[in-house]
């Protein structure tokens, strides 16, 4: 049974990854291309400034893969494998929740666990460290940014599990509704403290030294020595669209995992009793075989 649940989680994750890839290919790639065009233009403007100031030009990194490969194969492989990884973790979380989280139906639990995955893996980290298109992000800070993002993801998932456990513990004393609210409130407070303690990306010491004190790493207008703007800041509309589509793709991904897995889980865990469709009567739904031990 455990193997079959995990297999179905993987299947749901693969379907979800494919859908998210189709979404990303249609909606995200134009924004990514605009961001890369901005980056190229800015690099050229910077180069011209450097040349005027007598600074030798940087050697550009060689392109290992063409943009076409990155946008089609790379994006597809990345999204599908990410979907399968999330589907597998979803199945593990689902199995751990089974029978331990109150009288939930198999399908309802599927949607709730998928919602938890969206919240823990993406939405809550998004609030503190939102996704950025190419051209945003200083190479000097990649190690710190990577670690900070993973700390945020880890805290958000661990606290979410703790909040569910807390809600279950409080249920006998406060009832289902109030225990749920208390668990949610504890989660918001705990994750809020972590968000307040972790630094904004612009406030990292390398960034303050090199670029001055700003909240984020989003490129500001490029100016020459006299302070004239020679290249604009990163376009706000591209940044907004990229983040909106990134969020939408995660909704597609987790929504698909939850919805595809739900009927499969119901068939496995709560098989409809055999016989005519009078299954609503108590007599027909008598002693069903325990599906888990089989």
């Amino acid at each position: 049974m455990v193997k079959r649940i995990i297999g179905r989680g993987l299947l749901a994750g693969a379907v979800a990854g494919l859908l998210a890839f189709a979404f990303a290919r249609i909606f995200a790639e134009p924004q990514i291309n605009k961001a890369i065009a901005y980056e190229s233009g800015r690099d050229a403007a910077q180069e011209a400034l450097n040349k005027a100031a007598g600074i030798p030009p940087d050697m550009a990194d060689p392109d290992l893969f063409s943009r076409t490969v990155q946008a089609d194969v790379g994006l597809g492989v990345g999204m599908v494998f990410f979907g399968m990884a999330m589907g597998a973790l979803f199945a593990v979380a689902y199995l751990l929740c089974l029978g331990r989280t109150g009288r939930l139906q198999a399908r309802t639990l599927s949607l709730l666990v998928a919602g938890g995955g969206l919240l823990g893996f993406y939405l809550v980290p998004f609030v503190k460290y939102p996704p950025n298109p190419p051209a945003i992000g200083h190479p000097e800070t990649i190690q710190q940014r990577g670690s900070l993002y993973l700390v945020m993801v880890l805290c958000s998932i661990v606290f979410l599990a703790a909040a569910v456990w807390l809600g279950q513990r409080l249920k006998p004393r406060f009832g289902n509704w109030n225990a749920t609210l208390l668990g949610a409130a504890a989660y918001v407070v705990a994750i809020g403290v972590v968000m307040a303690l972790l630094p904004s990306l612009g406030h990292l010491s390398d960034n303050v030294q090199l670029y001055g004190r700003h909240a984020t790493e989003t490129p500001l207008p490029l100016t020459d020595k006299q302070g004239n703007i020679v290249y604009p800041g990163f376009p706000a509309d591209v940044l907004f669209a990229f983040r909106l589509y990134s969020l939408a793709a995660q909704l597609v991904l987790w929504g698909t995992i939850g919805l595809v897995f739900a009927p499969m889980a119901q068939r496995l865990l709560q098989p409809a009793p055999a016989g005519p469709p009078t299954s609503a009567t108590p007599a027909a739904s008598g002693p069903a075989p325990d599906p888990v031990t089989t």
Binding site: D61, L75, A88, G99, I142, L160, Q270
Partner: protein
């Protein structure tokens, strides 16, 4: 998140279905779960982190460049 659905007690036809049992009591199942989780996290690492903040294959950028667009779009820090 689970106790959100307090409405599970509403009298739908499904309310008579057998309650969902605890699935993972034994050690063999636990091993399977841990193995699955470790593998999934390894995939998560290679898509999201490797050859950025840390690198398994040293100073090589093929994994990073290949999944570049997905990495940005999935919310991971890049470059």
């Amino acid at each position: 998140m689970s106790s959100l659905s307090a409405s599970a007690a509403t009298p739908t036809p499904e309310a008579d279905a057998p309650a969902v049992p605890v699935a993972v009591p034994n050690a063999r199942a636990a091993l399977l779960l841990i193995g699955t989780a470790v593998l999934a996290l390894a995939v998560y690492y290679f898509i999201g982190v490797d050859q950025g903040a840390t690198s398994v294959f040293g100073n090589d950028m093929h994994v990073h460049e290949f999944v570049h667009d997905a990495r940005h779009f999935l919310g991971f820090p890049c470059h």
